[in-house]
């Protein structure tokens, strides 16, 4: 395609991004508003942030959320990588269609259904609801996203390097850890980050599967949002946005470095071959 910036393309991109970013920007700006009214600018202030630190309930909820996200993302990445291997490398086996259906369906499944069905499972097996039920629920729905991310990378690299390793006597397990995993590592990291943020953000599934002992940050924010817009919520939202933005920027920088290194290696290999 003849790629250049025409006036149409620039307008489309600028308008699209304005729509995506202006609401977030406004939210961030008003978190520094001295006035409690959302539409009146009362001068710059960081007092809402200071107030957050003293809000113990909120800090507790934030800590619970981070722990849930960390554990469930790690489980989801391991399971999702296995699922991706099954989808890309295992060929046909009985029940493959059901398996790929179970991996892709949760991507679009309304959260109220996923949440309700997992809750009823936990009640049926008499599993004490709280921290661990949220972890299991989050690991289940985020592993499908992780599987899709890893699967994309697995299906587009050169399989012959794996075959070469096995021809040279490496066991399938050694091949996976020494050849495949280093190649797909950036996608495994993005899968983990995606699972982590999805868990961090989730309100609906956590509300269904939690018990009285565990409250997550989105649940806390939701109960306050229902009462109206306040600068405190803007402040906590800004912190979450900043947290995720920095994470995504680091991840995309790492992927860029990795791509550049692969490119350099390939050129070196080509030069050596000639």
């Amino acid at each position: 395609m003849n790629n250049r910036f025409s006036w149409f393309n620039v307008t489309a991109i600028v308008l699209g991004f304005a729509f995506l970013y202006i609401p977030i920007l406004i939210l961030v700006i008003y978190s520094f508003n001295d006035s409690k009214l959302v539409t009146v600018w009362g001068g710059f202030s960081t007092k809402w942030y200071a107030g957050l630190i003293e809000n113990e309930q909120l800090m507790d909820a934030a800590w619970t959320t981070l722990r849930v996200a960390f554990i469930s993302a790690t489980m989801a990445t391991v399971l999702g990588t296995m699922a991706a291997l099954v989808l890309v490398r295992m060929g046909r086996f009985p029940g493959r269609t059901l398996f790929s259906g179970m991996i892709f369906a949760p991507l679009v499944m309304p959260e109220v259904i996923t949440g309700l069905s997992l809750l009823l499972l936990f009640v049926a097996i008499n599993f004490d609801r709280g921290f661990w039920t949220i972890v299991l629920a989050h690991a289940t729905f985020t592993m499908c996203f992780a599987a899709v991310v890893v699967q994309a990378r697995l299906s587009d690299f050169d399989h012959r390097v794996e075959e070469a390793a096995m021809d040279l006597g490496a066991s399938p397990v050694a091949t996976f850890f020494q050849v495949t995993l280093p190649i797909i590592a950036p996608s495994v990291i993005s899968a983990w980050l995606l699972a982590f943020t999805l868990s961090l953000d989730d309100l609906v599934i956590a509300s269904f599967t939690t018990g009285p002992s565990a409250t997550t940050l989105p649940m806390k924010i939701y109960s306050q949002v229902r009462l109206g817009v306040t600068p405190e919520i803007n402040a906590i939202s800004t912190i979450m946005i900043a947290f995720v933005t920095v994470g995504v920027l680091i991840a995309s920088y790492m992927t860029k470095m990795q791509t550049a290194r692969v490119e350099r290696d390939r050129r070196a290999a080509d030069a050596a071959a000639n």
Binding site: N3, L15, V38, M82, A83, E111, V112, S117, L121
Partner: protein, 296 residues
């Protein structure tokens, strides 16, 4: 041997935490509502043995389902969910297409950055992004303040707590889901096809409708499924932005469960929602399968 273990672990996990829960939802939807903990009487217990299950299957009744069908609240909630999801999917497509098109035709070295900026909002909390619109849309909110100051309107517009606000919320929240598959299919189009059309005397608009647009249909289909299916069962957006007149089934299910504590009715609502969505979900799987095979 190890190969089977790699298959078995995620397989068993998904059966346990994804498939079996659906059967439990179905089972509970056939139970009696009770004021107790948990708030239902089990219909049958697998551990009681086959004879008792057989005896009880005969007594099953679909009372909750006939209740849902007889109450207009539920049927209109299903219908209006589908309508709201369909309209918002179409609006999302209208906004996403030019953006994806502009991105696909931007200079190559810009594309990864543009991609990242489309994905970034998707990574930030859904709840926060919906919340951001409350301050903008409410009667004394920023949009009305701006329009009043500019003299465009003399009375504040009522957008908050209407179906309009729900449309805005869905389009905004799901835009990245539409842009990404559209961009993927637009970006793959061979530029030489358009040059050929141009060389053969086709004006740009005609070339777009006869070359670019048909080739982007797989992206349109994938994007529409990705927006429509979750939007039908959406809860957060109608709850925070919509008013009492906006009926959506996700909200109904939530209030049956959390406010009325009627688990059997909530389960029956979920089963029917799943039945409504099964056709688009299977269609989505089928489209994905075809795209994968075409990619090989």
């Amino acid at each position: 041997m190890r190969k089977w273990l790699v298959i078995a672990i995620p397989y068993v996990w998904m059966i346990l935490f994804f498939l079996i829960p659906f059967f439990i939802v179905f089972k509970i939807s056939l139970s009696e509502s009770e004021i107790s903990i948990p708030p239902y009487t089990p219909v049958f217990d697998i551990f009681e043995g086959w004879e008792s299950i057989k005896a009880k299957i005969g007594e099953l009744d679909f009372e909750k389902y006939s209740f849902i069908f007889s109450d207009e609240l539920y049927t209109s909630a299903y219908l209006s969910s589908i309508k709201i999801a369909a309209v918002s999917t179409f609006l999302t497509l209208l906004i996403a297409y030019p953006l994806a098109y502009g991105m696909a035709r931007a200079p190559r070295e810009w594309q990864p950055t543009l991609m990242m900026f489309v994905i970034l909002p998707f990574w930030t909390s859904f709840l926060i992004r919906v919340y951001a619109w409350i301050g903008i849309l409410k009667n004394e909110g920023l949009l009305n303040a701006l329009l009043l100051n500019l003299g465009v309107i003399s009375e504040p517009l009522t957008i908050m707590n209407t179906t309009m606000a729900v449309y805005i919320g869905i389009v905004y929240s799901y835009l990245p889901f539409m842009v990404l598959p559209l961009y993927a299919s637009l970006e793959k189009i061979d530029g030489r096809l358009l040059e050929a059309a141009e060389d053969l005397g086709s004006p740009p608009w005609k070339a777009f409708w006869q070359v670019t647009f048909p080739l982007s249909i797989p992206g349109i289909v994938a994007g529409c499924f990705l927006v429509f299916i979750p939007a039908v069962g959406e809860f957060v957006i109608p709850d925070l932005l919509g008013g009492s007149e906006t009926l959506m089934i996700g909200k109904t299910l939530w209030s049956e469960f959390f406010n009325n504590r009627d688990w059997p009715v909530a389960s029956a609502v979920a089963v029917l929602l799943l039945l409504v969505l099964i056709i688009p979900i299977v269609g989505f799987q089928w489209a994905q399968q075809r795209a994968r095979e075409a990619g090989r």
